[in-house]
Symmetry: C2
Subunit: 288 residues, 2 copies
């Protein structure tokens, strides 16, 4: 355990404290979930978003603190069910937190914001960071992209035509993502860099390139699209898939199911390239 | 540092993890702060609310994670100023967190919710809890009550008549409370029980009585009212004063400035009494 002065502060959207990792993510009404969502799904995704941050560090979940906006009793009970199911299925436990009434705003209907801090412990030191990719490494992706986008489209634009399973699990992937905790733990000892792709493949790859001071060239044809993905261009710019992006020495094969999607070279000629062409910073995707 | 299985989970609104203490508090628009508040004050109070939880544990602040609802750039910058000022004045540092757009709600104007997880380290083991008060102990209060209530009244009902200092610092006490970190650390080694009174003296005393399985009799005349306090009855039922409530063996004098406000006896005759008369559970104050 690090003494007080050794806390390393913010790195890769998580706080590191010796071998302890703290993540904090939010679920905001109308931003991260639809206002008519099942509260159990909201709770699940809040846990999953945090656990995906831990997965990228190869960490095991320990416990969580929840900032909860109270709703009606039925909504609250359903949220609690989802929370329990998520911890049961993926790990972690509720340690504490704070509840409050919803925001009171003149003319408004209120809005719910849920925040969770998750505490995890690294399984391997040093803890993987997004900043460690090196020229000559290969870039890999565990998991696929495009399912969450397809699920969101199904829910918002073609709701009547789609049941929860009508699009190959895409709706379920959007509502109840599964963080790759086992994969992250298996990869942590060997990767040069690792992060989750929660904000979209292009944006997060550009972040790894910038943090590592390298140039990354993605091979479009190699990027694993989920069978339900609607469009590769959209899938690369949409978040919520919670795949793991990692850099490995070119001669090492990952010990988990993954696709080699790119190559890493010395900085110059653009931080992020797609089939050799630089991707403009304003064409990476959206930021929450 | 505790190993994984030793995390003790929720106790007294904080999570304990070996000698590490995690608190989580929120500032919700229209609930914990007025919609036209200075963002720097909102940030300050968010830090102070968490630090008061640490004070009650005799803990030193280490770092914090912030769940932040983005506003306009000017608001965000002012909030950041207040956050920096609060950490600088009271301790702690920003380690990380998550930002999001404000809730998007049909017909609503959005609402801001800020959540903070604060990490602290206990200065003394065992960590004080609210559950340790014993029959024969004396009950003490460090700090006073009533200033935050007076400040709130000045801000909402008689704004034109009051400047920030017109009511003896009451407005400042409401907007920028000061947690009693040094007092908490000095008291931790000797108290049988300790908690902060953020939710109101009567309510929080009743909670200590219930958690400890004792009866507590408050002496009304002994309760220290802030010079600006408007009304003792209201002051006892209003939160936000962030005083420290603690139980000590009757023959021990506290090493900090404090008032002896009550006596603790075996359970029976009501958990909370005021000058010997039981206080009804529905007359304790308000819960957030």
């Amino acid at each position: 355990m690090a003494r007080s002065g050794e806390a390393r502060g913010l790195a890769d959207d998580v706080a590191l404290f010796g071998d302890i990792i703290l993540t904090h993510d939010q679920m905001v009404e109308g931003v991260h979930y639809l206002p008519d969502a099942d509260p159990a799904d909201v709770a699940w995704k809040l846990v999953a978003r945090n656990l995906s941050d831990l997965a990228a560090k190869g960490a095991e979940p320990l416990g969580a603190l929840l900032g909860y906006t109270l709703s009606d009793p039925q909504w609250d009970a359903r949220f609690a069910d989802g929370l329990a199911a998520a911890f049961d299925a993926m790990g972690g436990a509720l340690w504490g937190g704070d509840t409050s009434r919803a925001p009171q705003i003149a003319g408004g209907t209120g809005g719910r914001v849920f925040g969770m801090t998750m505490v995890g412990r690294a399984s391997h030191l040093p803890i993987p960071a997004r900043s460690g990719a090196r020229a000559g490494d290969a870039l890999w992706l565990a998991g696929s992209i495009g399912a969450a986008h397809a699920g969101f489209v199904a829910l918002t634009q073609d709701r009547d035509a789609c049941g929860p399973h009508a699009t190959g699990g895409a709706v379920n992937a959007f509502l109840r993502p599964t963080p790759l905790l086992a994969e992250g733990a298996a990869l942590a000892p060997i990767v040069h860099a690792m992060m989750d792709v929660s904000d979209g493949l292009l944006l997060d790859t550009a972040r790894m390139a910038a943090a590592s001071g390298v140039s990354i060239n993605l091979s479009r044809a190699a990027i694993p699209l989920h069978p339900a993905a609607i469009d590769a261009d959209a899938a690369m710019r949409w978040g919520d898939d919670y795949a793991l992006l990692f850099a490995l020495p070119a001669d090492i094969a990952p010990p988990v199911s993954a696709h080699r999607i790119g190559d890493i070279s010395a900085a110059g000629g653009g931080a992020l390239l797609l089939d050799g062409h630089a991707v403009a910073p304003d064409n990476l995707g959206w930021e929450h």
